[in-house]
Symmetry: C2
Subunit: 214 residues, 2 copies
């Protein structure tokens, strides 16, 4: 968002001194996002207008549209970074790592980053989960993440269908873990919940005959 | 679509004989679907109008809208039946079947039914796959199928997260198999492809240590 840092160069009363007067608050996107999340949680996504978000942030509607296309983008704008982080960690996994283990490393990096963001990340997910329209968009994001992970696995030499199946399985574990994370019943960190969901998935996919009886 | 079978009761020239003269062709939805699939495949979904579909089917635009809300519904209208079939087969699996095995039975029933429909089912999937807009809708359908399967598993006494993980894994296998089914590289029946994808998924999720070394 370089536009937030555009400035006017003004001459100060003191001769010879150049001062940068920011034209817009450089933290405008952060403030707008916080205001939007608070309003979506209070009133619901459908009932919140861009005008109200701007007002709560102490900014104008025009400033809002300088940073976001619409009020949905406030919730989905950062998805690119998350996906890049995930993909980078999958690529960086040791060469010996099996497909689902490489995916597991990616998910761990992603979960760690979401945890660092703390409450806003959980609140965002809770808002998205509560609205069928937003949830549909989130499903599409998950599908795009799975495709990106599958590409990363292919670049590691994993063939199909293993690449797509490992990627989709990982994203399934992430979805299940995210649901539990924002639910009321757990205070566990997301990283633990993702690892637990992956372990459960492995258990569910284990062959009919248990190892003890094999 | 009971409206297709509404009839006028008319007196025939022969006295005393009642004849049913169908007001609309009872096969109108079938003809419209066939016409639509042919046009979508020839020109693309976006480039086809409802008018053209009706014309190709030898029917009116009004008849089209009696059976379908819009031109997307031609592709998605039958999804309910498919989901019911899937869910019924999951529920009917032997009590001893483990979650993913019950899902596997459901997928087998679904694949068998799609195969019976033959080329139209594959053509439908190919059209949906080629359009980002339609594919998004299909992703939402897949998510709804996974939720329905998870509910069926819970009714069998399967807890969470096993129910949702087994359901999602099954639908992932179905997606991968469908992609291969409509691709150019295989002539295998969908049932085989689904079974193969499930086996691959089990292999991908197998623990790091191979059984030989365990």
């Amino acid at each position: 968002m370089p536009s937030a840092y555009h400035s006017h160069v003004t001459r100060c009363p003191q001769p010879g001194i150049l001062t940068l007067v920011p034209r817009w608050q450089p933290d405008a996107p952060v403030r707008l996002r916080e205001a939007a999340l608070a309003l979506y949680a209070e009133r619901g996504f459908d009932e919140t207008t861009v005008e109200e978000i701007a007002e709560r942030a102490g900014l104008t509607k025009r400033t809002f549209f300088r940073h976001f296309v619409d009020k949905r983008e406030v919730l989905f704008g950062g998805a690119g970074n998350i996906e890049e982080l995930l993909v980078a960690a999958v690529r960086a996994a040791p060469a010996s790592a099996r497909p689902l283990d490489a995916v597991s490393r990616g998910l761990d990096a992603l979960a760690a980053s979401l945890e660092e963001q703390g409450e806003p990340a959980a609140r965002r997910f809770r808002i998205v989960r509560a609205s069928p329209e937003l949830w549909e968009r989130q499903l599409i994001k998950f599908a795009s993440m799975a495709e990106a992970v599958a590409r990363a696995l292919r670049s590691r030499g994993v063939g199909d269908p293993a690449a797509i199946l490992a990627a989709e399985s990982g994203i399934t574990a992430l979805r299940v873990a995210s649901d539990r994370w924002v639910g009321d019943t757990t205070t566990q960190p997301l990283r633990h919940l993702v690892a637990a969901a992956l372990a459960e998935l492995r258990a569910v996919a284990a062959p009919e005959t248990s190892p003890d009886r094999a």
